[in-house]
Each structure stands twice: as structure tokens, then as C-alpha cells.
């Protein structure tokens, strides 16, 4: 029995104002693994992640998530399988606790379960002391950890991270690596990361796909 794919991409193209910025003829991303897209700025990593997160409709081609075609109209249940962490930290203008609870509330989880998950992730990401602070009153590094925690707490089958080390203090990088590896192993979560941080890439045990000028140079390495 072969490995199931989280994503299957065929003839994917995306263009801004007529200029093609993404052109991926073929790509499969297996379930439950860590997949890293590496490449310089402008190579199309963020565009690809936005399409995989179902928030950007591609100009052409097909993207299947768990063998379900996503576009042109991805439904809510399909969206709920994916969590995206943007490269620029954006927290809602409320407390850290409310930020963490936001996605769980949209899924209608019981208050007790929400509290349990918040305590667990706050402990793992070392943000317990700022849990009741307003999101404006925390540092950039703390905000980045809260954003990662907000994604991990969802326990979705797929997590997409766009340059997750951008605003993260060096001291917390091992914490991020550990959290991602644990999530991938324990929950069989598919973790897709876009980064140009070579140190971060070397610390992860995942498949590396090199991107350049909107295309993947080694699509079959996965």
C-alpha cells in the first residue's frame, strides 16, 4: 500500500497581472511528513502556501487535498483541515488567551476542552506567563510564539508555516523544531514549511524541495 498524499498538485499556475509567478507541473506532498520549500525571496513560496491554505485561488491547474479537488470553491470543512501561519506576525486585538481560543471556538469545542488545550500549548510554547496579557502588550518574539501556538492548538491534519523563524528569537528555535517534530510524529500532522533559513532547514528532518523562479527544481525528491 502506497503513502497517502495530503496534497496532489497538477499543472498548477498562478499569475499576477499576467506575469506567471508559480508554475508547478507536478507535485505530491505525502501525509504525516515534514515538507520544506526552500528558496530565495520571490521564488513563489508564499504564493504556493497561500494556494495550499485555500485562501488564494490559482490561475490554473488543480490542487487536491486528501484527494478532494479544492478549487474553484473550497468548502468550509476542507478549509478546516489546514492552518496557515503567516510570515508577518498578526494577532487579533484581544488577549493572548482569546487568540488561542479563536479557532477552537469556530469549531464549537467545549469550554473545558478549550481551556485544557490552551494550558497544554501555553506550557509547551513557554507562554504561560503572558496568557492573560493583551496581544499589543507582548514582544515580537512572544507574538511569534503565540502565533505558532495558535496554529498548533488547532491540531489540524495540515499545518503550513511561512518563514516561521523570521521574528523568532534564536533561543526559541529549538522549541519550534521540537514542537513541529512532536506534532508531526504524535498527531501524524503534515507540516509544510516555506523558509530560506538554512540553519532552520538543517535542524529539521524533512524532505526539502528547492524553489526558484516559481517552480520546484526537484519535485520528485519527495
Amino acid at each position: 500500500m502506497g503513502v497517502e498524499n495530503a496534497y496532489s498538485i497538477r499543472a498548477l499556475k498562478h499569475a499576477y497581472d499576467g506575469k506567471v509567478v508559480l508554475d508547478i507541473p507536478y507535485l505530491d506532498i505525502p501525509s504525516g511528513q515534514i515538507c520544506i520549500f526552500s528558496g530565495p525571496n520571490g521564488s513563489g513560496k508564499t504564493t504556493l502556501l497561500s494556494i495550499l491554505a485555500l485562501i488564494l485561488a490559482p490561475s490554473g491547474g488543480s490542487v487536491s487535498l486528501n484527494e478532494i479537488e479544492c478549487w474553484p470553491d473550497p468548502d468550509r470543512e476542507l478549509r478546516r483541515m489546514v492552518t496557515l501561519v503567516h510570515q508577518k506576525p498578526v494577532l487579533f486585538s484581544t488577549s493572548v488567551r482569546n487568540n488561542l481560543a479563536y479557532g477552537l471556538k469556530t469549531r464549537g469545542l467545549a469550554a473545558k476542552e478549550i481551556d485544557r488545550r490552551i494550558m497544554s500549548i501555553a506550557d509547551a510554547m513557554q507562554i504561560s506567563t503572558i496568557i492573560n496579557k493583551h496581544s499589543r502588550k507582548i514582544s515580537g518574539g512572544e507574538a511569534q510564539r503565540v502565533i505558532l501556538a495558535r496554529a498548533l492548538i488547532m491540531e489540524t491534519p495540515i499545518i503550513l508555516l511561512d518563514e516561521p523563524t523570521n521574528s523568532l528569537d534564536d533561543a526559541y528555535r529549538p522549541l519550534l523544531v521540537e514542537s513541529l517534530c512532536k506534532t508531526s510524529q504524535n498527531l501524524k500532522t503534515t507540516v509544510v514549511i516555506a523558509t530560506h533559513d538554512t540553519n532552520f532547514i538543517s535542524s529539521l528532518s524533512g524532505r526539502i524541495l528547492r524553489m526558484e523562479k516559481g517552480t520546484i527544481l526537484n519535485p520528485t525528491d519527495i
Partner: protein
Amino acid sequence: MNDLGQSLTEALRLIVSADAEVRTIIWASLRFSISSTIIASLIGIPVGIALATSHLRFKRFIEDLLNTLLAIPTVVVGLFVYTIIMSRGPLGQFNLLFSPAAIIIGQTVLIIPLVAALACSSVSIVNPIIRETALTLGAGRLRTTLTIASEAQAALLVACITAFGRVIGEIGISLILGGNILGYTRTITTAISLQTSKGEFALGLALGIILLCVAFVVNFIIRRLGRRSIWV
């Protein structure tokens, strides 16, 4: 100069002694303005948010229309509502003319475009990643829209207060639709107009000072809320 001095002294006496007529007029003004602001906000804010978050074909045209309506003179709105609620108008059977309801309707019509336009621009400038984040965290369309609106809540409050500032100081609608009836539809601005035409400046000045104080408080609140709206 002597007249002005005497009028000012008398005006201050009226304010300090909380003159009954002054109180009645101020209460009427506040009642009408607060009512119309609440109604206009309940209509204008959802309209503005919907406009900002939608991809309507004529979105730009509607925005231009709203911005054009911001400059409409109050007397024109008064005249427009007058033709609707006068005895021969479509709503003539309800006998609304020269009543507080008529003033509230007119003022509401006046500020709906203002609230909607300000709400639209407030929501439009919310960081677009907020919307994407809400979507990727599983929020539906309504919750996503409410989240975006929540990020702009300080600016939306400023829109309401700005609208209140517009109606508390208007005269055209109150005069045309209210009829300036003492103890019933007389507002600060219509009272000032009447007193001035009678050459009795003391009451007009007292009300003018109070109107200025209200404007100051409104501006103070706007400034404080404006500071809070900065996204960090």
C-alpha cells in the same frame, strides 16, 4: 460691547442656575441627536462593513455616492423628508411633521451616509492578513466579517461620535421638520436662531456655549479613541 458683556453675564447666569428652559432645550437636542445616531449607526455600520468586505461590481460607484452625500446641506435633507412626511406625502397619514420623530428621521437620513462611509473606510484599512488568519482558523464568512469589524471597533466608535457631532449642530432639519416648538421640538440650534432674530442674545449665547462644550467633549473622545485604534 456693553450689550455683549451683559448678554454674556446673563448667559453664564442661565447656565450656572440650570435654567428650566435651557435644560428643556438641551435635553431635547441630546434626545434627538442620540436617537438618530443610534439608529443611523445600526444601519450605517453594517452597510459600511458589508461594502468594505464585499466585491460588488458597483462598489466604487456606491463609495463615491456615499462620499457625495456627505456634503449634502441639512436643509436639502429636511426638504426631502418634508415631502415624504407632509400630509400629502407617502407617510402623511402618520402625522409626523413638526414632531420629535420627524427630526430624528431627518437627522438619521442625514448621517447614515456619513456613518456608512466612515465604517467602510475604517474596515477597509484593517490588515488583510486578519481576514486570511480568521479564514485559516476555520471562521465562516459572518465570523470573519465580525472579526474584521472588531479590529476596527475604535474607528467605528469614532464614526458614531462624528455622526453625533454632525447632528447636534445641525439646524436645517430641526427647523424644517420640527417647527421649533418650545418644550417639544426646540433644539439648541433652532433656539439660538430664534433668540438671535428676536435680538435676545443671552439665551442664545448660553446655548452656544453649551453647544461648544458638547463639541469639545465629542472631539476629546474622538481623539482618545483615535489613539487606541492604532494597530500594533
